[in-house]
């Protein structure tokens, strides 16, 4: 078991014929993900990287019956692509695209929620259940199957942590990149909840950063509802206030959205807080039952 994606994932790729869709589509197929088709308006009826291409998600839904979709569509059109997937009834939508205007996401979030779908991202690396399904842009080979769940706002920082875990002999149940934008479909709490109830996850690594209050809410959830041990790392202790650090959401704008405040809250909630990504396996090792 694992969360969200596994051997039963039937993946659709929106924007399959684009540069990213093509490259990462191939990578996902090579990893063993069951890709059942792709969507590019106007290219329906053709075959691309070995799978059928449809004009619309609705068409793909009728013929290929995907249960998950991944979106590589450029930012100006990505919000619409998410809504297309929601309207077609795909329950799990993963949006990789970076740079979607945040007011578009306000509407999209409401639409996703109203239809009972689940959105991961945008501006995220996707998610992977090692050995079963890779639905994203992460390098598959650094992962190993195991029992540590991982949830993170960042891409390469997640790879860093995953690599450290794998080298320390700690495989992962599922690693989820939730994205670094101000408004994202799934929060830390949403994913922590899934890990808490996943029988194949023993402990969780959570990687946050400056900006917003998602880590503080995660701390509340850890304290009130989690029985599994959590190791947390927060990036951005040296980030200046009021400056965007790459990710649109990584900006210190109040008092409680600093790395220090988040680390303190997580520590108080009972999580072990790492000072650098390299410390994560050690802290986790100390926690393993």
């Amino acid at each position: 078991m694992s969360i969200l994606v596994d051997k039963n994932t039937r993946l659709l790729i929106q924007g399959i014929t684009g540069r990213n869709g093509t490259f990462h589509g191939q990578q996902m197929i090579e990893y063993g993900t069951n890709v059942v088709g792709g969507v590019t308006p106007g290219k329906g009826g053709s075959t691309h990287i070995g799978v059928p291409v449809y004009n619309t998600v609705r068409e793909a839904m009728a013929e290929a019956i995907p249960n998950t979709t991944i979106i590589y569509v450029p930012a100006p059109f990505a919000a619409d692509s998410i809504m297309e997937a929601v309207a077609a009834g795909i329950p799990l939508i993963v949006c990789i695209t970076e740079g979607i205007p945040v007011l578009d996401m306000v509407k999209v979030y409401e639409f996703v929620k109203g239809h009972g779908a689940r959105l991961i991202g945008p501006n995220c690396p996707g998610l992977i259940t090692p050995g079963q399904a890779k639905v994203g842009i992460m390098p598959g080979y650094i992962h190993a199957p195991g029992r540590v769940g991982l949830v993170s706002k960042s891409g390469t920082l997640t790879y860093e942590a995953v690599n450290a875990l794998t080298l320390a002999g700690m495989g992962q149940s599922t690693a989820v990149g939730i994205g670094g934008d101000p408004i994202i479909g799934s929060s830390f709490v949403d994913i922590l909840e899934l890990f808490e109830h996943d029988p194949d996850t023993d402990s969780v690594v959570m990687i946050g950063e400056i900006g917003g209050d998602a880590e503080l809410r995660a701390a509340d959830y850890i304290k009130s509802s989690m029985t599994k041990p959590v190791v947390a790392y927060i990036a951005g202790r040296t980030a200046p206030a009021d400056r965007r650090m790459g990710h649109a959401g990584a900006i210190i704008s109040g008092g409680d959205d600093t790395a220090a405040a988040k680390m303190a809250a997580l520590s108080k909630a009972g999580a072990k807080v790492a000072e650098s990504p390299n410390q994560i396996p050690g802290l986790l090792g100390g926690l393993q039952i």
Partner: protein, 378 residues
Amino acid sequence: MKIHEYQAKEVLARYNIPVQEGHVATSADEAEAIAQRIGKMVVVKAQVHAGGRGKAGGVKLAQTAQEAHDKAAAILGMQIKGITVKKVLVTVAADIAHEYYLGVVLDRASKTVMLIGSAEGGVEIEETAKTNPEKIIRISADPALGLGEYQARDLAFAMQIPAPLQRDFIKIVHGLYNAFTASDASLAEINPLVITKDGKLEALDAKIVLDDNALYRHPDLEAYRDLNEEEAAEITAREANLSYVKLDGNIGCMVNGAGLAMSTMDTIKLYGGEPANFLDVGGSADAERVTNALRIILSDPHVKAILFNIFGGIVRCDEVAKGIIVGLKEVQTDVPLVIRLVGTNQAEGRRILSEANLIALDNMDDAVKKVVEVAHSR
């Protein structure tokens, strides 16, 4: 992207929000001429992308045109939070009877566009949030339907707007909400919104922050960008599509990925060093990007050593290594480098580096310790 007060007021005026007459001056003489034309008491206000202008002495009243000249002369060229004042706004000084706060903000927690109001304006809303949180009223607009008339009315009553001014106030609330959504802002704030002694509502100060991700659909607002407000290196970086923020330390860093870049800065600090910058070289650390990034890092004279921290995930280490070598040929430097390169094709990447007498480390903490040691020894 931040814009100036005078630009924000231009935007608000387009949505029928009453603002005082005012004009921008870049010299004391111009300020004097504007004050002369206005013909009443004026305020001379520094136009910089920094808060706390009043406290820094960047906002002054002037009774006469001559006084406006002198105040402008004092404010122009002054430093506010490290930024040199190059422009002042000369505007009518209002006779204030009461000050309110009115803002529209993207609220990350509720994932909505939220109206924020307070009967206590003129102070920073963050301050009120700490001292009198009960005095702040928050109302979320429906993501699909927008702002309801009843919501603006709710706010008017909650903020105790005098009955004769409620209609005008509600128009201002809608105007601000519409300005916010139509501009793809992340913040639009009027602070203070005042009632003047002659009983009118006016926006005395305005602040708008725009969503960088949406600027592509607002070329008119993109034109408000003021390059004087940015570090030269940050402008170059933006043009090269690199995400760069200058800091005060002496260890330059080039990292792929925003999260790892922040983490690298933190780890430098953890081991006793000071990062000189945040720089995300992006997913494809090719020769062109590495070259641009190197130039930008080295344009900071305080940089004593540079750390490359690359986790080659999708991007292959041999490609990155080639990029580093081409970059170093393009940008000759005697600043020492520490390279940490791991990931896809790392053996080949390291072989390429070693041919150029460059050594790559494996572990991030080891690389950081090394670069801190090198920077300290210089």
